[in-house]
Symmetry: C3
Subunit: 491 residues, 3 copies
Amino acid sequence: LEARYGDIAAMNEAWGNVFWSQEYRSFEEIDLPNLTVTEPNPSHVLDFYRFSSDQVIGFNRQQTEIIRKYAPGRDIIHNFMGFFFDFDHFALAEDLDAVGWDSYPIGFLDVAPFPASDKERYLRQGHPDIAAFHHDLYRACGRGRWQVLEQQPGAVNWAPHNPAPLAGMVRLWSLEAFAHGGEAVNYFRWRQAPFAQEQMHAGLERPNGAAAPGIAEARETATDLKALALDKDSGGKARVALLFSYEANWLFEAQPQGAEWSYPALVFEWYAGLRRLGLDIDIISPSAPLGGYALILVPSLPIVDEGFIERLRETKAPVLFGPRSGSKTLSLSIPEALAPGLLQTLLPLNVIRSESFPDFYRVKGTLNNAPVEGRAWLDHVETDLAPLARSDEGGLLYRNNNILYLTTVPEPLFLGGLLFSLAEEAGLAPVFLPEDLRRRRRGDTEFVFNYGPESNEILENVAPEDASFILGERQLPPAGVAAWKRNTKSH
Amino acid sequence: LEARYGDIAAMNEAWGNVFWSQEYRSFEEIDLPNLTVTEPNPSHVLDFYRFSSDQVIGFNRQQTEIIRKYAPGRDIIHNFMGFFFDFDHFALAEDLDAVGWDSYPIGFLDVAPFPASDKERYLRQGHPDIAAFHHDLYRACGRGRWQVLEQQPGAVNWAPHNPAPLAGMVRLWSLEAFAHGGEAVNYFRWRQAPFAQEQMHAGLERPNGAAAPGIAEARETATDLKALALDKDSGGKARVALLFSYEANWLFEAQPQGAEWSYPALVFEWYAGLRRLGLDIDIISPSAPLGGYALILVPSLPIVDEGFIERLRETKAPVLFGPRSGSKTLSLSIPEALAPGLLQTLLPLNVIRSESFPDFYRVKGTLNNAPVEGRAWLDHVETDLAPLARSDEGGLLYRNNNILYLTTVPEPLFLGGLLFSLAEEAGLAPVFLPEDLRRRRRGDTEFVFNYGPESNEILENVAPEDASFILGERQLPPAGVAAWKRNTKSH
Amino acid sequence: LEARYGDIAAMNEAWGNVFWSQEYRSFEEIDLPNLTVTEPNPSHVLDFYRFSSDQVIGFNRQQTEIIRKYAPGRDIIHNFMGFFFDFDHFALAEDLDAVGWDSYPIGFLDVAPFPASDKERYLRQGHPDIAAFHHDLYRACGRGRWQVLEQQPGAVNWAPHNPAPLAGMVRLWSLEAFAHGGEAVNYFRWRQAPFAQEQMHAGLERPNGAAAPGIAEARETATDLKALALDKDSGGKARVALLFSYEANWLFEAQPQGAEWSYPALVFEWYAGLRRLGLDIDIISPSAPLGGYALILVPSLPIVDEGFIERLRETKAPVLFGPRSGSKTLSLSIPEALAPGLLQTLLPLNVIRSESFPDFYRVKGTLNNAPVEGRAWLDHVETDLAPLARSDEGGLLYRNNNILYLTTVPEPLFLGGLLFSLAEEAGLAPVFLPEDLRRRRRGDTEFVFNYGPESNEILENVAPEDASFILGERQLPPAGVAAWKRNTKSH
């Protein structure tokens, strides 16, 4: 904190410690922001998250420096986890040569707050977007270089329930990783250990060394890879950018203001919404360049700085912001100009008050005469802009040139329609994929994956009529994968 | 405890410490009644509540004595909270000149265990009886002198969900406080702070000093008050008394005997039941005089003393007791004569056993051939009295002269019908108000409030046909308030 | 641990401590298996349960040795509890002359995870199989000598909800205990105490010494017993054995692998399934002889030793094993031969992987063309045996000679049909009793109990047409008990 603020008066000012008479006299007086009599100052919590992240990054840097010194010339990689946001992975990965992560699609579905219908439909497959989301996030962290360090090869031991993957899913998961540009897929583990904590965690081999079901699928994947002859590089830059901020997550953890507000769920929903349209997605950090993207999505970005505004000015692509964007200063205060703060230079509106809602409540409005619904949050704005979507409670969607702003968390149908029309505007040829299918392109290879428990036909507008299938065919069975080479100019 | 019991033998006897061989040898051996191997002695818990309350009262007295000494001639007021019963507010308020409280109708609805239908219907209004209940409770504590020290002026920050009030509710809440005899309504806060813990708590002004929605309603309330020209005093004594005992709450916390038993919920239901009949209510302490009341309600009073019996003898008004009344001695034992203990001198019946029930269970019976239902509790009695309401499991309602006793917690329809007929018997001209309307009289001014999300017409038997409305009109919009002067002799 | 393993290397090997580099250098380094950074080694947990059980048994032995020395010639009895499995009651009871237990059917129903429909139907009776299960379990522990040391005589104080027993239930519970071979039924308590923690616990007398409802039923039971003239002994050995292992419960607590896996619930369901067929049941320990039983049920037995296999070889009776049987070594590892381990000598199949499922999932299959369902668990096997029941996911039931193996937890209809056909095969003349009726035989006396809230006729195939009823009659009211002498050769 001393490094950040210089003197205690500046920190007291930044945190607003005058409130509740909580001014500190020196940095020595500052404790952890827990075990407080009532809630801690949210600015304190946010700065603790920043400090804690820096500690992790610093420790990793120490390790990599030692390795580089005593074992030069090697790539350094480390494993990241699923739905884990407690340190800034973009920043830490700068000290790595590549990023790895541990992909457990079935366990993640069980422990994450997905609706019961998803937990039932994808019981043995995992949610169709969980692995993909992390592939794209860690591809960004690794600056294109990444791999799966632990791929679930069967039932595991650590989730509340541990079903085995549907036959074919180990291969499907593996190919999905390569479709997203992965350099390798490693399975955890080679042989199931017969003892200790993880003895019920499947391996490619059973505890006695006999083949377990996963190994045949791993071998089939190897054969597939030879047939596919994928480009060496990670498949190139996508045309859609989805902005993800670790800092935003910490800030909202420190000040949710509504029990139903979840930043990770919000970002994941937007990611899934884009993927349902058959689009390839780059997940980007708040400091990433915006050039080259045809469509930019910002589910929420509470802290907006001048650099971000500069990068925004340079894009002509549609940029869709979700609620609470620009609502906070760097030290988690309300900006002098009120929300959306610095964004007002591009989006002339003013959030004069905000509401949060319980689960049962929906903000009901219309967009082009069709009903739309929002939930969890509503920003009330003053503006001269006419809302594109409106409700009796106020405008739901505003636009100024290429900048759009949602005042509520859009429900799936609202979100899907909006993303579709923006993708069309951006010339991205979106399609509404069937519920269980997902598409991913790497270089000139196009993949379609079937995550559903039933057969699914690949739609005409997904695979061209004359597609020459390298893997699979037009009618995809459960856990089926199709791949063909495409004319990259046709899309 | 030494002050209360004199010697350790008397305390051992009072608490029944011989049970489980828990006799103490000296007062020094007594710990707090927590962190015990199994449940603590309930008499110990009750005495701890008494001690803890006395400590709060003693500390407040110290403060008031200092203020009176060094700043004489001023009224001393302090803020109480909503649904907070851990000390005896009647006793503490004796050292204050007036009582204040902090009214957050929307947040209280969210955190209190109201049914989902209420949470949905009153999302932006708060439950119609929450503020009124506390107005009447703290009016009693303040011996008629009270005010709202913190009135919610918009969305707040501390509840799990924080919707903004429906337009008009800030004015409605303010006028409801004055209708109940409040001396003032203060808003928390003047200007929203842009920093620290409560930065998302609305003020009358936005963080930048611009007007927030609440301020116009506060100004309108001021105009209304001039038009109303209310009596200076707090509106006089009501004709209905509802007895509330802090000690009863502590006793039932110490010994609930059924997970569905909630003393605060019971009292609140009876309060709401009376208010649905358009009645003004005095909440009274167990030591209050009963003279002058036409109807007296005692949802439950486990400890009954001789003084209370004396005051009971002096009233001819119907007095309705709920279950568990008279069931305990001062030290939380079962009276020698069994429940209802001293009440047996006025009500010749004997509770020979009691049952508690889960949520799904209803005691089904009849009253005047109409079906009635109870829940949560059933006292089985031996008596020569014929029950007025009965079930296959035993009598549900008994009466001896003006004293009535319910053996179960009456469900709303049972309770409403019973309160209506007792109010009629007492000459109080009850009405069944529409679900969302509430009525309150102060002096010669009669108010009707619409807490519902829809328009509501005021019934003919609520506002006379020739009523000359000072505020509002017969058809009340959501958050609407009507007021007129009435001929006080007509009711 | 030193006594068990001799040296630390053997313990490290047995627990697989090499995993996660958790080898200990000496026994002094070993802590309790709690407060660990992540999950403890399950072998450590299991050995802690064993140690903890041994400590309880050792302490009890100390006490009994003192009593036998200074008060020789007396029977020593101690009370056990309901649904309490933390020490090995079979082993402890070897130091007692007889076993007692505390039977609170209504409270147990409230606190145990029974479905809501059972909690509602049996609110004032308790579940029909709770008391019977413990009677049979503790009869086995006491080697035939047992009694009820505390019988609930009315409403109690310790459950979340405390309804009073339906009229007649105190007598029914008492007679059910005698029907199961109990030597005595004692009521807790004689007189309700008016003070301290249990003042709301009913006695046979009210706090003031007057008769409470239970005492008349206790007296009626005494009269019944004279009329019944039961055999002195505990009623003889049953023809059906249900194996219960305390160690199995500890093992599954240490490694549930699925949140829906509950060993006590599994055993209880099989017990209830047998009882619904009107069968008398012996609960046996894993070390009990199997001779003389016509049908043997093993809901699950993860650790199987050579002695058990030897005893199995000596029986021709059908033996039904549930999933996870034989799946672990003595030190909670996976056997070299994989599950079902040593059982493979009698049952040639191999569990190659296992799955656990959430509550909503059912494994759907067929048995003799009829639909059957399993839940919670599925073992996938390799075998040359043809499955008797199968699903798309694999075989559900296998049989080799008299040994049967279920790969899933059978749902009630699957279980009921399977138990019925095995009981018929064993010549046990099972019947499908009406939902609320239960039957128990002691010597030549046959009892039928009605646990339902409605009247029930005793079926013709339960009581013979010429039955001469000592208690009750063919049409049983709620809480009714019928008893008659039977021709023991006819069954």
